[in-house]
């Protein structure tokens, strides 16, 4: 996947998590790595940049068992930014879905089409 594109999506994921509730750094990395391949670690730079830009603020909270956790909180500016990004994403994915749906809305329908098409091809071949 194009790196720029991936970064954009990851940024949106990070913001979505923080729009839900405060998270600490490793928690974000851990949860995201379950769904996307983030081994080339791009999460922390995103957190740092958005914090610098005033979209997140941070606070430390000691954990029961050792190292303190740095929690990230979304600011009002962050929410405004999130809404814009989210809109862009919704528009993009909405457009993509209008096209994707043309392939068939459900797997079942795609299979049917596939069966019908390949049948036709066999007939043509003969």
């Amino acid at each position: 996947m194009d790196a720029q594109f991936k970064r954009g999506i990851l940024e949106l994921c990070v913001m979505s998590m923080l729009a839900e509730r405060d998270h600490y750094g490793y928690e974000i990395i851990r949860e995201l790595s379950l769904v996307v391949d983030v081994s080339e670690n791009t999460i922390y730079p995103i957190l740092r940049r958005l914090t610098k830009e005033g979209r997140f603020t941070t606070y430390l909270k000691s954990s029961s068992s050792g190292a303190p956790r740095k929690y990230y909180t979304m600011t009002q500016k962050g929410f405004e930014h999130y809404v814009k990004q989210r809109e862009t994403w919704d528009e993009f994915i909405g457009g993509v879905y209008h096209i994707i749906d043309r392939g068939g809305k459900k797997i079942e329908q795609i299979f049917k089409r596939f069966a019908r098409r390949t049948e036709k091809d066999i007939i043509n071949d003969n």
Binding site: G25, R30, A67, P68, T88, D90, Y97, D101
Partner: protein, 327 residues
């Protein structure tokens, strides 16, 4: 862990970052790695989880993005400003083509003899409004094609821009072509022969008397439609809810939803096609002559008080309930 942190520090020193920033980052990493180890991360997998120090340093040390301009000026409520006034030829078909992103667009009727367009809470310079060959065009200049609206949504700062398009009472609208991203659309008291609406997250409200063919594509926005008569209505939504009420349709009503619910009340039509994945479909006083119902896990229930025959063309469901009840 210390080796990773030292490597990281060395890599960061090769970038433009200051010593203070470098120590700040290394501290963050120390905490995160400790959190990770406490939660059971194998020390061998530190680099796997946290990334190669060189790529990390490149990402952190790379030229920073320009900070955004100061928070958007929350403009004081503006009043309506007229931005266009046109003579519509009632002998020719009159159309309206709108392509916008976040703006609320209201289409309505006026006693005025001219077509009037007004803007509220927005900068008219961001839009192009024209009237040529009896077609009104309103376009957000930042928008052209999907990619354009992609950028448009980024650039457009103001959130509550509203357009009012007032059509003279005597004029019949041949067509409304409306594309929007997150802006709401409202049509009130207009007779429209052909309506094509496409929106992502904007809500659509339609109140009409006589409608012709209506086609709506939505993703997460809701649809609320009430009219007296219409010929054909076809809409498809992904997660938005739809409500259709008080319409006598001459021909077909076609509805498809993925997870949104559909409510139908006091509607009659010739043929109705319903397709739902997980959304529920509820019909009250809903009298199609023929009906085809399809659902994966959503329930489709029609409850009527009058005993009019409904011919079921197709009925298919995986785990949803499909019921037609006549009292």
């Amino acid at each position: 862990m210390n080796k990773y942190l030292n490597d990281l520090r060395d890599a960061l020193k090769k970038t433009s970052l200051t010593t203070i920033e470098i120590e700040d980052i290394v501290n963050d990493y120390r905490d995160m790695i400790e959190n990770a180890l406490e939660e059971g991360l194998d020390p061998k997998n530190i680099e796997d989880k946290f990334g190669e120090v060189s790529t990390l340093a490149a990402a952190l040390g790379s030229p920073k993005e320009k900070p955004e301009k100061s928070a958007e000026d929350t403009a004081s409520p503006q009043k309506e400003t007229e931005i266009g006034r046109y003579d519509v030829d009632d002998e020719k078909a009159f159309e309206m083509h709108v392509r916008c992103t976040h703006e609320t667009i209201r289409y309505t009727k006026t006693d005025d003899e001219q077509l009037v367009v007004t803007i509220k809470n927005g900068n008219a310079a961001d839009y192009e409004v024209s009237f040529k060959e009896n077609i009104l065009r309103l376009e957000n200049l930042n928008t052209s094609g999907v990619l354009g609206s992609f950028m448009g949504a980024f650039k457009s700062g103001k959130r509550n821009t509203e357009f009012l398009i007032k059509v003279p009472k005597s004029i019949n609208v041949e067509r409304i072509k409306h594309h929007s991203v997150s802006g709401d659309m409202m049509v009130k008291d207009l007779d429209v022969v052909l309506m094509n609406v496409k929106t992502t997250s904007g809500d659509i409200t339609i109140r009409g008397d006589k409608l012709g063919n209506v086609r709506i594509n939505g993703v997460s926005g809701d649809l609320d439609m009430k009219a007296t008569t219409a010929s054909n209505v076809k809409f498809s939504m992904i997660s938005g809810n739809a409500s259709v009420a008080s319409i006598n349709l001459e021909e077909t009503l076609e509805m498809s939803t993925v997870s949104g619910n559909i409510a139908i009340r006091e509607v009659s039509c010739d043929t109705c096609y319903v397709s739902s994945v997980s959304g529920d479909v509820k019909g009250n006083e809903f009298y199609p002559k023929k009906v085809a119902l399809k659902s994966v896990s959503g329930d489709i229930v029609i409850k009527n008080t009058e005993d009019k025959p409904i011919e079921v063309l197709r009925k298919k469901s995986v785990s949803g309930d499909i019921k037609i009840k006549n009292a």
